[in-house]
């Protein structure tokens, strides 16, 4: 198992001598994920331990197949570990079934995808309102104002009533970020959020993440772009399903 303290800039906030965590928003303990298929068995995560403190902006890098998307999917409950524990905000996510985890995710986690994944028949603001309807964090009377506020936050208020097909890739990703924030989640995860954007849009989207981090949001972001990764507070490098090294950037 890869030790997470191999990097000189390692810091382990919130853990005591026994390794028991306190004050960590995300706590992964010996997480293993193995896929079985007709081609054989493939272990994507080989006993990962990871702790992320509240308010951190963490980037996860690694080559294709290193397990970074699997890691983020496991944290959000999108995928289940073969073994190990996933505690998010004190909640043992690995114990949830598919239904429970969906409801928890809607209330506690904002998920951002590479291909934006806005629902094409809902306008920008309706995409956010749908997430609010499911999450139920705000009273329904408050939701329209909150949704517009989020669109203003990501600079998309003027496109509130546009369908995704009328927006550029960068604009769609901004709306997707606003949607991820719909229920004021404790954790934001993003899997290659700029992977499908041009450099200008990439900069626009990344600034949003930075602003969110400054405002205290906990962000976990998978990226293949080392330059962007270095702009996060902390970077975790995965190699062959293990955390090879981890370093603070600032």
């Amino acid at each position: 198992m890869q030790e997470s303290n191999s990097h000189p800039n390692l810091h382990k906030p919130g853990s005591d001598q026994t390794g028991k965590s306190f004050g960590h928003l995300v706590d992964l303990r010996e997480v293993v994920k193995t896929y079985h298929s007709s081609a054989g068995t493939f272990t994507a995560l080989k006993g990962v331990d990871l702790k992320v403190e509240s308010g951190a902006f963490v980037s996860i890098i690694g080559k294709s197949g290193s397990g970074k998307s699997t890691l983020i999917n496991i944290i959000t409950g999108i995928d289940k570990p073969t073994s190990g524990e996933i505690i998010v905000d004190g909640i043992p996510v690995h114990e949830f079934n598919e239904e429970q985890v969906a409801v928890w995710r809607g209330q506690s986690v904002g998920v951002i995808f590479q291909f934006f994944q806005l629902l094409p028949t809902l306008t920008a603001v309706e995409n956010i309102l749908l997430a609010m309807d499911y999450g139920g964090h705000y009273h329904r009377i408050e939701r329209p104002d909150q949704a517009m506020h989020l669109l203003e936050l990501v600079g998309m208020a003027e496109h509130a009533h546009h369908l995704p097909s009328a927006l550029s890739g960068g604009q769609q990703q901004c709306v997707a970020i606003a949607r991820a924030l719909a229920n004021n989640p404790v954790l934001l995860t993003a899997d290659e959020p700029t992977g499908n954007l041009d450099s200008k849009s990439t900069e626009m989207v990344f600034r949003l993440f930075e602003n969110l981090a400054v405002s205290g949001k906990t962000i976990l972001m998978v990226t293949h772009d080392n330059e962007l990764a270095e702009r996060a507070q902390r970077t975790i490098r995965l190699v062959d399903g293990r955390i090879q090294d981890e370093f603070g950037n600032r």
């Binding site: 999108i78 598919e98 239904e99 995808f113 629902l119 309807d133 499911y134 009533h161």
Partner: protein
């Protein structure tokens, strides 16, 4: 060794078993419905023709008032133009049912049951021939008299002799109207039994087969010659009629139903085509990305086309393997049910080859043709575009006015309502407009058919009401001969419960054409015409009803004018009454049955020209109350009274019974139509299920997103169920509209077949609401399984889905 691309075809077919099953089921349901209707139609038509041929059907019937013997039969048999002749005694008797009700029954007395030469009657069960002092009952009539073989029933002859008779068996007599339809049961006895009832030996009904029975005009001439011969021999002919060549009594109705089945067959053909086009289009849309990949690696258009056509053919073959045996089974079952209803035997249940050919054409050729359109459209886009994952799901939304109306700021006023998932469903509905159109067409046709069947039922009821409202009375009594009108009216009014009476006279007559040939029997009804008359005008098609001062005015059924082209409104009509010709003037035509022509004239005039002044052979009675129980009780009292004073009643009809019987016979037709409508609705429902399943498959990624943003199982399922319901509701609304012309067409077809005129149009609101309930239920069910499958997918599965 197979080339690699065929492995892809095999893997596509069997790798995604759910998709294959859905496509095969969608296609096979349409083919199944098509098979049932086409095969049942042929089985019934052939069965009817064959069944009829085996009984040596008569070309016509001549009834005499006086009895005749074998010598007269022999003399008719010797006529050159007569191929064969047979005779029976026909007696209108009455039978008491298990519930104590007296019903009219026609009893045939046959001399030799093993040598019936015309309109053959066969043994169905029990004794054959009927033993002495026992009776056989026609198989369709047992339920009408509420009896079984072995039961003993009380039979009353017109001579007032009552005997308890054991039912020794059942007979099969397809030449008669099925008892459950016209309400008249048929019984069969020997002359020994007749003697036991105190009746003399002798026949009163000749069944004649002309030398060229297939020629109706000739057959009619022959029947007329036999009738002339009888008249010359001194017999009075109260009735003669010529049958339609090769047709059972209910042929008109059955042909009407077969016509409707044909129409429904065409409809289900369309439904099958729509289903096939729908499923194949959806399949190719799904495979667009893979087509792009194959193009990118050098696949030629022809190679790729070949692969998909083979795949589509394989779906067609699998669908046919299901549809053909089930369709054949369904056709045989439906044919059996209809044959029992119309009381004829089916000798062959062979499925006609053309059914297989049409099913194969629809199942194999159409999918291939259907796949060409989406395939060509998928060829137009570049490989890169086809492989792009940039957009989510398929189908475009936001392109036209419907989309604009449903999207964006237009609905912002509803922002405070949690309706986003509803909006998602409604807008998803309009996302793939081609598929929506196909699904809607399928379901709308099903909806329209279902609602139309209810409209036909409502129209039949309206038509019955229209006909019955001519009679402003509760009961009609027919006497065995004429009596003094004032006496029977006075006697009737003395019975408690009788409020008002009226008389008429009814006479058999024939229309004499300008070439001196004569028509078949026409019944002349001569009611009294005055302000308080208990018979009011039937529904007048053209001209007017009779007036008190009319002399030789006559009102005829409009269908009769179509059969006799030389007749027209305002023109003359020569009628033969008691052997004498009289000229009448046609002052009006009315909407009425074609196969039983009744003409109406003024009572006073007819009694005058036939020397029956002051006489009547029928009495109409209006009771003080009109509920069935009261009318039945008062009628029994009236019958008893007439019996005591020696007035012989040969037939009693209460309007309530007439209405019930008419509606019951129509209900049976409607029930059959309903079965077919439900079948079509199921085709539509399964089409919807197929569409929803394909929508689920196409939107698998979106389902993942919904779950990723916190949608619970219920939330995901609701999106698809609501979408199904939206489609169902749209089809309901459109079906309700399409049902207007469709039911008019059905009314026209059925009315013409059964009555010679279209039915009185009526739109059934209960049918519309019932279908709304069913279509919503059907939509929920059709979407539930795909929706449940959608909600059970894990997010990782769906986000990894291609």
């Amino acid at each position: 060794m197979l080339r690699a691309r065929w492995y892809k075809v095999i893997n596509d077919l069997f790798g995604n078993k759910t998709r294959t099953l859905l496509i095969v089921l969608s296609m096979s349901v349409g083919l199944f419905a098509l098979g049932i209707i086409l095969s049942a139609r042929t089985i019934l038509s052939d069965g009817l023709a064959e069944s009829f041929a085996t009984i040596h059907p008569s070309s016509g019937t001549v009834r005499t008032t006086e009895l005749f013997d074998e010598d007269f039969i022999q003399s008719v048999r010797k006529m050159e133009e007569v191929q064969d002749v047979d005779a029976r005694r026909n007696i209108s008797a009455r039978v008491q049912t298990a519930s104590g009700e007296w019903k009219n029954i026609t009893i045939f007395v046959v001399a030799d049951y093993d040598d019936i030469r015309v309109n053959k009657v066969a043994s169905q069960s029990g004794a054959w021939p009927p033993p002495e002092r026992e009776i056989l009952i026609e198989r369709a009539a047992l339920s009408v008299i509420e009896a079984q073989v072995g039961d003993v029933v009380l039979v009353r002859f017109p001579n007032d002799v009552e005997r308890r008779v054991r039912i020794a068996g059942s007979a099969y007599d397809p030449a008669q109207l099925p008892a459950q339809i016209d309400g008249t049961p048929y019984g069969y006895i020997t002359f020994d039994t007749l003697k036991w009832f105190g009746e003399p030996y002798g026949f009163n009904e000749l069944h004649v087969i002309a030398t060229h029975p297939e020629n109706k005009d000739w057959a009619q001439q022959v029947v007329n010659r036999v009738k002339d011969k009888a008249e010359k021999s001194g017999y009075t002919i109260p009735m003669s009629m010529t049958a339609e060549p090769g047709q059972l009594p209910m042929d008109d109705v059955l042909q009407g139903i077969l016509l409707l089945m044909g129409l429904l067959g065409v409809l289900s053909l369309f439904l099958s085509i729509f289903l096939v086009v729908n499923t194949v289009s959806a399949l190719l849309t799904q495979q667009k990305r893979q087509i792009g990949v194959m193009k990118a690696v050098g696949g030629s258009t022809l190679q790729i086309l070949g692969m998909y056509l083979v795949m589509v053919l394989a779906y067609g073959v699998m669908a046919l393997l299901l549809a053909i045996p089930f369709g054949a089974y369904g056709a045989r079952e439906l044919s059996s049910v209809l044959a029992v209803f119309f009381n004829f035997d089916i000798y062959s249940m062979d499925i006609p080859q053309q059914t297989y050919l049409i099913q194969a054409a629809v199942g194999l050729i159409l999918p291939v043709l259907a796949s060409l359109v989406p395939f060509i459209s998928s060829l137009r886009i570049s490989a890169a575009e086809a492989m792009s994952s940039y957009t989510m799901g398929r189908g475009r939304f936001g392109k036209n006015w419907i989309d604009q109306l449903l999207s964006g700021a237009n609905l912002w006023f509803m922002r405070n309502l949690s309706i986003r998932s509803i909006l998602l469903s409604v807008r998803n509905t309009f996302r793939n407009k081609g598929r929506l159109t196909l699904t809607l067409v399928t379901l709308t046709l099903g909806s329209a058919t279902f609602i139309s069947v209810f409209n036909v039922r409502a129209s039949l009821t309206s038509t019955v009401e229209d006909m019955i409202k001519w009679f402003n009375c509760d009961v009609m009594l027919t006497f065995d001969r004429t009596y003094r009108a004032d006496r029977v009216e006075f006697d009737a009014l003395s019975v408690p419960g009788v409020a008002q009476t009226d008389v008429w006279i009814q006479l058999p007559t024939r229309f004499v054409r300008s070439d001196d040939s004569e028509s078949g029997m026409v019944y002349m009804f001569a009611p009294t015409v005055h302000a308080e008359s208990l018979i009011v005008s039937p529904t007048i098609a053209e001209g007017r009803w009779l007036m008190p001062g009319d002399d030789n005015a006559v009102v005829v059924p409009s269908a009769f004018l179509q059969d006799e082209p030389e007749l027209h409104l305002g023109g003359d009509m020569m009628l033969k009454l008691d052997g004498k010709k009289h000229t009448f003037k046609i002052v009006g035509t009315y909407v009425g049955m074609a196969f039983l022509p009744l003409v109406y004239t003024n009572y006073d005039y007819i009694t005058q020209i036939t020397n029956r002044v002051g006489e009547a052979d029928a009495l109409m009675v209006k009771m003080e109350r009109h509920d069935p129980a009261y009318v039945d009780a008062a009628t029994r009292a009236l019958e008893d009274h007439f019996e005591r004073i020696g007035v012989r009643v040969s037939m009693v009809s209460t309007i309530n019974n007439e209405r019930t019987e008419a509606e019951a016979s129509f209900d049976a037709i409607v029930a059959l139509l309903l079965v077919m409508a439900i079948l079509l609705a199921l085709v539509g429902g399964l089409g919807l299920m197929g569409t929803m399943s394909i929508n689920v498959l196409e939107r698998t990624r979106e389902i993942g997103v919904l779950r990723a943003i916190g949608a619970p199982n219920r939330g995901v399922a609701l999106v698809f169920i609501l979408e199904g319901v939206v489609i169902g509701l749209m089809s309901w609304a459109m079906g309700g509209l399409v049902a207007i012309p469709m039911s008019q067409g059905l009314n026209q077809a059925l009315g013409q077949a059964v009555m010679g005129v279209p039915l009185t149009y009526s739109y059934s609101m209960p049918g519309l609401w019932l279908w709304l309930f069913i279509v919503v239920l059907l939509s929920v069910l059709a979407s539930f399984i795909p929706a449940r499958n959608a909600s059970s997918l894990t997010v990782r599965e769906v986000l990894a889905y291609e």
